[in-house]
């Protein structure tokens, strides 16, 4: 199964991780790794998740997360891991 990378970038606020994780839990998405840092004063989180058991089609999940990001004032992207591994690993 393809791993998916979720990135959340934006101004820090209370409850960002909670909101994202709640959405993922509601859609049967398992979180395998989270790293979070503040880059250039911005909240910056990357999650590696497994969407294999989610009933939600991938394209709709991408849109849901984008909308959730708009709601809480951050940018959320959801992409298959391959684009990063291909680019950065030989």
């Amino acid at each position: 199964m393809k791993k998916t990378i979720i990135t959340v970038v934006g101004k820090d606020a209370v409850g960002i991780i909670a909101r994202v994780c709640t959405y993922l839990a509601d859609n049967q998405v398992n979180v395998e790794d989270i790293s979070q840092t503040i880059v250039q004063g911005y909240f910056n989180m990357m999650m590696i998740v497994d969407t294999g058991r989610s009933p939600r089609p991938f394209g709709e999940m991408v849109r849901d997360l984008e909308e959730l990001g708009d709601e809480i004032g951050v940018r959320i992207r959801c992409q298959h891991e391959d684009i990063f591994t291909k680019m950065h690993r030989i």
């Binding site: 990357m46 590696i48 394209g59 991408v62 992207r77 298959h80 391959d82 291909k86 680019m87 950065h88």
Partner: protein, 454 residues
Amino acid sequence: MINIFEVNETNTMIEQENLDVRTITLGISLLDCCDADLDVLNRNIYDKITRLAHDLVSTGREIECEYGLPIVNTRISVTPIALVGGRACRCPEDFVTIARTLDEAARDTGVNFLGGYSALVSKGMTKADRDLIRSIPGALSSTERVCSSVNVGSTRTGINMDAVKLMGEIIRETAEATQENNSLGCAKLVVFCNAPDDNPFMAGAFHGVTEADAVINVGVSGPGVVKHALEGVRGENFEVLCETVKKTAFKVTRVGQLVAQEASERLGVPFGIVDLSLAPTPAVGDSVAEILEEMGLESAGAPGTTAALALLNDQVKKGGVMASSFVGGLSGAFIPVSEDQGMIDAVNRGALTIEKLEAMTCVCSVGLDMIAIPGTTSAATISGIIADEAAIGMVNQKTTAVRLIPVIGKDVGDTVEFGGLLGHAPVQRVNPFGCEDFVNRGGRIPAPIHSFKN
């Protein structure tokens, strides 16, 4: 395991530096559509294209969504129509009906361009080739998405000067036929020397006869990414400069390879090649000229430009070749004028002339591309420019091409708007001295001595 910084680097490339996949092009062989009856031929062509390309656009969108990577164009290239239509077409008008069929198929599959309304006449012309070439003005003025190209020379065969002469006239006729649209027809017409069979970039794309029945070719693009990387090594020596371009080209090409493999798997069509070109767009920050300027030139066109472009081209190839299992097409930097804001600015400030552009084509991927010239330019002068460019390709064993737009009713100092990815261009000065007697000789320029490599 992937880390957050690598993820951010990729996403910055996409969001801020215009990294994209320029085109997924589905090449389709139409040789099995041949028929002596024109109606049957047209039906066969329409059916085959729409059957094979039915899911092309939606697959492109899916990949775009899943990887968060913009795929700018999905396109189709077909077997040169002069080969397909030879048996059924008796006159140029018959060929125009095929152009309309292609246009319809392109529209119904949702692709923005379809290339392959082409003839390969590097050594000689058949009646079908000649009819097709004569039909180009009619075809390009009565269709929206069809692109045409003619290969008039190669290192192995020399240059077909009869075809060169004819193409000068055809470019003028096409300009006149699409006069009300700023002679836009000429933006969809390319004259080649050493045309590759697997080029995914319009307007010169066609599906060569050496290719399989259907194949997926992908063109990547990332001038903005390269420029941004170079901003980080300002003032460093050439070794550092080259390493930086090479590493960036590798990353950009890996993305192309990924998209090519995904598209090929999902469409059930074999993967052909990734074309390593740096293709600019009129968007700010997506310009090849800006890369050259970042290297230390005051303006594209200044002394040093050819060397800078040569270096860029070579490093892009060196970085890209290892990133993809099959590399092909044109693979280099594109230097179209109208599609590159940095080039437009360079022309406007008087730093870049057609002569300098010609010199740059010796080391770039293609040739004189998207250059607007005065509407009064004679057919012979256009043929002369084509002959010069073809000679550069022939002698240097590389692909060269000419896409000139004599804009009817406009002169030096005017600007022409083509819209969208085709951008806008200042009308450039053409050398006023004639070459009519040279062009009118006809016949062939023989192949150079290094064609005998056997």
